[in-house]
Amino acid sequence: MSNDAPPADTNSSRLVDVVRLIAQTCVDNEAYFCDLDAVAGDGDFGYSLARGFETVLADLDQFDHDDLGAFLQKVATTMSSRMGGTSGPIWGTAFLRAAITMKGKSETTPDDTVAMLRAAIEGIKKRGGADVGDKTLLDALVPLTDAVEADVAAGTDAAGTARHGAEVARAAAEATASLQARRGRASYTGERSIGSPDPGAIAVAVLAERVADAW
């Protein structure tokens, strides 16, 4: 784990640490994520994530850490109780869908990881009606998931898989700069949304990088 992350709780699964790291990273990057959203959006992306995830962080240690499905569901509902904007429903749905795949499980296999990511993606698509190419966080999350799935199938180790996923996510997130937004607030600016990357996609890349660093 990096310095910023809380000390690993030895009784809890690695998944709990990853969630904690994601939450902490979102809190730490509040200003940066807001600035990204100010370019073509309304500048609140970092604020929404930080408010939701700081609530998660505050309660995380009280959550059930044995049933990882129950754990993720609690994360999702806690987040949703405080996170507004587009991100509230999108991220809440993502965690809720991931929770369903982990119901009753107390450990995470590589296949579980892929299943969680796929479920999150389907939830996001359903909730927001966006798909790859619309310049949303899906444009980083989907290639990341594809890379992870391929690595898992090829038997790559977890650390290597995480690193590879982060690299793919970063490249894909940066590449969103050339896209025109067709969903969300940035779509109102039409062609002017071209030239800057999507905040949600960059956030996915940052989170993937922090997870890979901590592995």
Binding site: A38, D44, G84, G88, I90, R185
Partner: protein, 331 residues
């Protein structure tokens, strides 16, 4: 950034607290869910009206809670749709046998939150319907985007459904009225400056000293086109033309004409714009018979204005004329 704030995170709750303290007889405030609720709600013989959206648009919507308008408002953080939970809680608080109407400005985040909230409220047995407001002609209807935004025209929809609800209309009838008013309401805005959200601390976009942003939204997101500033006469043309041609309005129509300030523009300039717009409409045979000049739906401290036209018939006129008692009082 220079603002009257203590802590950006406390901005919305402290504002809501002030609102409630200023209106102790008529409003209550629940800090847990950011709710502003009519003190006398719910009235079981009346459809309850709820509106939620990001904060930063005041007086919309927390300051139009009151008899004849909203029963509850559930604002989110600045420019962020409220969490779904807040919307559900608002519906719970004002649930009435006649039903609850959720009003939503059409934006991705708000739409998702309210759709989820409607499902959840419905599952709890609350009779609820949702109505989307999308009066902003600056956004082209499109198969890709979520479509037009709800902006200052939401005032007229709230006013009309609020009046219909007070008259005793049932939920379907209130929805019909709201959809009707939404369908004859068109808005177009322009920004002279960008706004500064408290948590960001700097302007959301940069506008040159001689530039304006045409077709701007109410969330500080840039508009569709940037151009050099022009005299007020020409600015009115830039705003009126897309509105008038969109509906279309035509010779002989009676309208309500609103000049709405975006937060940083003095009312003197708004009246100046009103006079120009009024005369230009009359010259086209369109008669403004109801006028609205002031701040109705803002974008924090943005200097700018929007023009809204509502095509009137006897029913819409009656609903707009009906009395209402809201915090935006002046004496």
């Amino acid at each position: 950034m220079k603002k009257f704030i203590n802590d950006p995170k406390a901005f919305v709750p402290e504002m809501l607290k002030g609102l409630a303290l200023a209106n102790p007889d008529t409003l209550t405030y629940d800090p847990k869910y950011n709710l502003i609720v009519r003190a006398d709600a719910p009235d079981q013989d009346k459809v309850s009206i709820v509106q939620g959206s990001g904060s930063g648009h005041e007086p919309a919507h927390v300051m139009v809670v009151g008899k004849g308008m909203l029963d509850a408002a559930c604002p989110g953080d600045v420019f962020a749709a409220p969490p779904t939970d807040y919307v559900v809680e608002a519906a719970r608080r004002v649930q009435s046998e006649k039903g609850v109407l959720l009003l939503v400005n059409n934006y991705t985040g708000d739409k998702m939150a309210f759709e989820m909230a409607e499902e959840l409220a419905d599952a709890e047995g609350i009779k609820v319907k949702t109505l989307f407001i999308d009066d902003d002609v600056a956004v082209k209807d499109s198969t890709y985007t979520i479509g037009r935004r709800g902006v200052a025209g939401n005032f007229f929809v709230i006013k009309a459904v609020g009046a219909a609800a007070e008259e005793g209309a049932d939920l379907d009838e209130v929805v019909r009225v709201g959809e009707k008013v939404n369908s004859v309401t068109r808005t177009m805005g322009v920004a002279l400056t960008a706004c500064t959200p408290p948590s960001k601390g700097s302007p959301l976009f940069e506008l040159g000293d001689d530039e304006i942003e045409v077709g701007v939204g109410i969330h500080g997101e840039p508009g569709r086109a940037r151009q050099k500033i022009v005299p007020a006469d020409e600015i009115v043309d830039l705003l009126l033309e897309p509105i008038v041609s969109d509906l279309p309005f035509s010779d002989g129509d009676e309208v309500a004409l609103m000049v709405n300030g975006l937060g940083g523009t003095p009312i003197s300039e708004l009246y100046l714009l009103y006079g120009i717009a009024h005369e230009k409409l009359v010259a086209q045979g369109i008669t403004p018979v109801r006028s609205y000049v002031g701040e109705y739906c803002t974008s924090l401290d943005m200097a700018g204005a929007s023009i809204t036209l509502v095509k009137l018939d006897d029913e819409v006129k009656r609903l707009l004329e009906a009395p209402a008692e809201i915090p935006m009082r002046t004496f």
